[in-house]
């Protein structure tokens, strides 16, 4: 008995070193990029690579935020924010309504519709992207940010599954009590059920935010002109024409622009991570 308890304590102590190694592995590329973003040309040529810059400089940031490529970067930032926010809002609305209906309302064909969206998740890919290109061309929505938002906001089986699961988890007594008090269908939906499903909505919103902020291939396929690209797809196309010598290094400029691109989604995730876990634990009871 004592032995078992002792063993337990050893396991408890071992847990942290293992997790610190795992977390450092996850963090290291960020730290390296952060370090590179503070390094200038001088450091790259004269000293060996080190995690802590010997000659600390802010020139890379000044160059990226105020130099030749700054306008382009700012424009891509604007595009990304516009597309991501709209797509997140649209998706959350679409998926919440459908998830509520599929979980709590009785109507003919309900289970068939839900089954359809689940089966669709396992349907093999075909030339959908190619056909979407043609479709968007015919709708005159190709090379347009509105077109991108529409393509991004279909909802999707996983989101629908999660939202339905969250609505199923709300006790029926709440609904019954409201009905006895004479609340209408719409009132029950929007004033009672929707607020109770906030965790699911935030989960869908975070996942959609991450997916759209990082989306690459659809944007690259649909958008022709550099001024309409999103940040993720257009980052590589910004030409930071950097001078050959001086404090600025193209290595440092790359690190800086990459960090600035990743930053919004990292902040969103860190601020909302509690909701993320909560929603996922509720939604993934399978």
């Amino acid at each position: 008995m004592n032995m078992a308890r002792w063993k337990k304590r050893v396991t408890g102590l071992l847990v942290h070193p293992i997790m610190i190694v795992a977390a450092s592995f996850g963090l290291f590329p960020f730290l390296w990029a952060l370090s590179s973003s503070f390094k200038g040309q001088r450091e790259l040529y004269t000293t060996l690579p080190a995690l802590f810059p010997h000659y600390f400089t802010l020139e890379n940031y000044r160059f990226v935020l105020a130099g030749a490529g700054a306008n382009q970067l700012l424009n891509l930032y604007r595009n990304s924010i516009f597309v991501t926010i709209n797509s997140v809002v649209l998706t959350v609305i679409i998926v919440s309504l459908a998830g509520y209906a599929l979980a709590r309302l009785r109507f003919w064909g309900r289970d068939a519709i839900f089954g359809l969206f689940i089966v669709l998740m396992f349907l093999p890919a075909a030339g959908t992207l190619m056909a979407q290109y043609e479709l968007m061309h015919k709708l005159h929505l190709r090379n347009s940010l509105i077109g991108l938002i529409l393509l991004y906001s279909g909802g999707g089986g996983i989101n629908l599954f999660l939202m339905r699961q969250v609505f199923l988890g709300i006790p029926a007594e709440l609904e019954d009590a409201a009905r006895i008090d004479g609340a209408s269908d719409l009132r029950i939906c929007f004033q009672i059920m929707m607020p109770l499903a906030t965790s699911g909505m935030v989960l869908v919103a975070i996942m959609q935010f991450i997916a759209i902020w990082g989306e690459y291939i659809v944007c690259l396929t649909m958008i022709d002109t550099a001024d309409k690209l999103t940040l993720s797809a257009g980052l590589g196309s910004i030409l930071f024409t950097s001078p050959a010598l001086g404090e600025i290094s193209s290595y440092g400029v790359t690190a800086t622009s990459v960090l600035l691109t990743a930053m919004p989604v990292v902040l969103v995730f860190i601020f909302l991570q509690r909701w993320f876990i909560k929603g996922a634990v509720e939604g993934l009871k399978i």
């Binding site: 293992i18 996850g26 396992f122 093999p124 993720s232 860190i270």
Partner: protein, 308 residues
């Protein structure tokens, strides 16, 4: 009178009409931007569709039957693409599965909730940021002259005085991109497993503790069976390897002599670059999809027979 009664049962059968109203947006979006392009994509695969030639867009003008499929089966670059997709898969997912499961089981034993949160966030960050930013980060680490990896191997550890240029060496390309992809996906898959572990009722652990079970037995007899469905989800979503590895290759680079040109990437380039043969690209996508469907079916069959 009879007609009205019929109308009423019809109305009753339909049930709550708000149901249709609320489901309409998602179904509508799917019909326009999902279902229609899906069907049209299959038709495009049967056409000699070229983006630059307007008259080839019509199905009846350029229908060529299965010619695209016959061509792709004979195209050596398609088979190189299949090989690249398979190599990417084996250099990433076996490691991700083991690392993610191990991390989740360890993380489930962290009792301090604040620390558990910090660990969870840090291992998930690689998945959160865009591939277009994480791959350049790795390229900078691999950079032969200024990168940290070679400095670390030759100067800090002093075990490898002359380390290779990882991304442009034919023998080191796969380990290099493999490590970057493992880094990208081990954390969020660990989180997926962890959510499965959190959903295991705590009574099971308490009962095991009363019986004097050790950590290994807890893992073997409670946790592993408890996350069976999550593991099925992991395998099903990842076994479909043939369509994967497009964005990674585009942002990391295709390696020396294009050894990293996966089937998905080759198909995309055929469809949208050069001669822009949309039909040929669509045929490749459909081919990959059918192979993937076969793989998923086999996995499901296997899990079913396991259960029986």
């Amino acid at each position: 009178m009879a007609k009205q009664a019929g109308k009423q049962t019809w109305r009753k059968k339909l049930g709550n009409l708000y149901g249709y109203l609320f489901v309409a947006p998602i179904v509508g979006m799917w019909l326009i931007f999902g279902a229609y392009p899906y069907v049209r994509g299959i038709l495009i695969a049967l056409q000699d569709y070229r983006l630059m030639e307007r008259q080839s867009w019509s199905f009846f003008n350029s229908f060529i039957g299965f010619a695209n499929f016959i061509e792709l089966l004979q195209d050596p670059r398609v088979w190189q693409g299949v090989k690249a997709s398979a190599l990417l898969y084996v250099s990433v997912y076996p490691f991700v599965a083991v690392l993610a499961l191990f991390t989740a089981v360890v993380l489930n034993r962290v009792k301090t909730s604040g620390l558990a949160t910090v660990y969870r966030v840090l291992i998930t960050l690689p998945w959160v940021i865009p591939v277009a930013t994480s791959m350049p980060m790795w390229l900078q680490i691999y950079e032969p002259n200024y990168g940290y990896l070679n400095h670390f191997l030759s100067e800090v550890l002093k075990i490898w005085p002359d380390p290779p240029a990882w991304t442009s060496s034919a023998s080191w390309y796969w380990p290099a991109i493999g490590l970057a992809c493992i880094w990208k996906s081990f954390g969020h898959n660990a989180l997926l497993f962890l959510i499965g572990l959190y959903n295991i009722p705590s009574e099971l652990y308490e009962a095991a503790r009363l019986d004097g079970a050790n950590s290994w037995q807890e893992f073997r007899f409670i946790e592993l069976p408890g996350i069976r469905n999550i593991m099925l989800l992991f395998i099903v979503t990842h076994v479909a390897f043939l369509g994967a590895g497009m964005v990674e290759m585009m942002t990391f680079g295709e390696g020396p002599a294009n050894i990293g040109k996966t089937l998905a990437l080759y198909g995309w380039q055929q469809a949208f670059q050069g001669n822009a043969r949309l039909g040929y690209g669509a045929a490749m996508a459909l081919f990959a999809g059918l192979v993937n469907l076969g793989l998923v079916t086999i996995v499901f069959k296997f899990f079913k027979s396991e259960k029986a």
